[in-house]
Symmetry: D2
Subunit: 140 residues, 4 copies
């Protein structure tokens, strides 16, 4: 139905490098395939909100990108039309890990959700936010 090629890890690493914010914030795609994707980002003081936690916009950026890359492993390029997130705890940590998974990839719309974990200096990981994205395929 569509000629849009699904993207594998190597292609997603390349795609990630073309996005200004992903590069600036140091997003790394560490796994991708079968409707799933995993991103990482090191702590960086430049991306905080006023209380010193990771900015809600960056939480959104990680969750939304994990959803988009998860979807791209099945359908290629996508554009988000709706995004929502729950901020369960203040987002602080040495490193952030976002895991996206596709719920349903329809011809017109793709639904995915993601979880954001913060890892402390001591290596303890806790769930700090959950999000979901509704996307349309771009055919690219």
């Amino acid at each position: 139905m569509t000629s849009s090629p699904a993207l594998d890890l190597q292609k997603l690493v390349a795609l990630n490098a073309t996005a200004g914010l992903n590069r600036l914030a140091g997003f790394e795609v560490v796994a991708a395939g079968d409707g799933n994707a995993e991103l990482r980002m090191q702590w960086n003081d430049d991306f905080t909100q006023y209380a010193g936690y990771l900015h809600a916009g960056m939480i959104a950026a990680l969750l939304d990108t994990a959803c988009g890359f998860a979807a791209a492993t099945l359908v290629g390029g996508v554009m988000a039309s709706h995004f929502s997130m729950n901020c369960l705890k203040p987002a602080v940590g040495r490193i952030f890990v976002a895991k996206g998974t596709t719920l349903r990839a329809g011809r017109k719309q793709i639904f995915a959700r993601a979880e954001l974990f913060a890892e402390s200096e001591a290596g303890e990981r806790s769930l700090v936010a959950t999000g979901e994205t509704l996307m349309v395929p771009t055919g690219a």
Copy 2:
């Protein structure tokens, strides 16, 4: 009921300057009061997604911050617990304007919503995204 002081424009400008991402991306608070707030941000290639539009995370950052500052004019410091947005059109433009307005400021929860406009080189303004945030007062 609460000793938390509402924040005026001057205090919000100062608060804005303490947030890493707001500084990095050049958010400017241009109006605030009576449950409303307005933010601006100039286009910057460092904040794009892979197709060259403003990154969804930055759309979220602008909408969420506009909601938070709108709420702060009534109740002081807040933390977002839920955020959602609709991306109506690709976000491209010379400048972005986010307008937040408080829907209800309860003792335990505050509801606000925001609209994001993109202004073209020619000065035409169009609505590119809408968002809403549910916040809890921090008492700060």
Copy 3:
């Protein structure tokens, strides 16, 4: 591109009468046109949650239907793919009024939002919930 005819008030009244829940709960379409629609529902003890307020599912039903009918005035039949709402206050009243308005009607997706007002016995109206729906046109 689509032959799907926009629906006017008369057609929406007829459509409303074909929906089981709308009939059971007594939804009335009282205005529709130009991307907007207004619904009403009388209080009914059968539609409450455990504390005696209008059930969240009915708040959703009113908001979502107002969004859908608002969209139908522009594009004809639609199906909701995402819905969200804020419950600002307990929903109690003699009558409920839901007002939907279309934010953007694209070829693939339509965005609308709605407000739900409760009217007391004394005729005072207050905003109890806000919602938004993302829809796809069904071509019907």
Copy 4:
């Protein structure tokens, strides 16, 4: 910190019976405990939207109630302040099963999410919608 007793299956069955809509639509609580809850509802033509599928309001009612009962097993009575859902497929089936699970139960806010499955005449089960609710404890 709170004297609000967590509710077990027996208490939730009783609570469910006090809610007008839950009774009218025949919601059954079939499991509850440890932050999780499961609801069932038989197909009923009175609860449809215009195309003959389960009404979005009833999808919301099932998802939101599953979230609320899941939370109640940990913190007792709650009120929803935000609810959102994705409608992945048309909701048709002989029976609907909603499974709620608590993501985080804070002192001020509780986050839960739920999945709605439709079971066909042939006994095949498919995921038709996902939802999430942000609640405040009522202390009841």
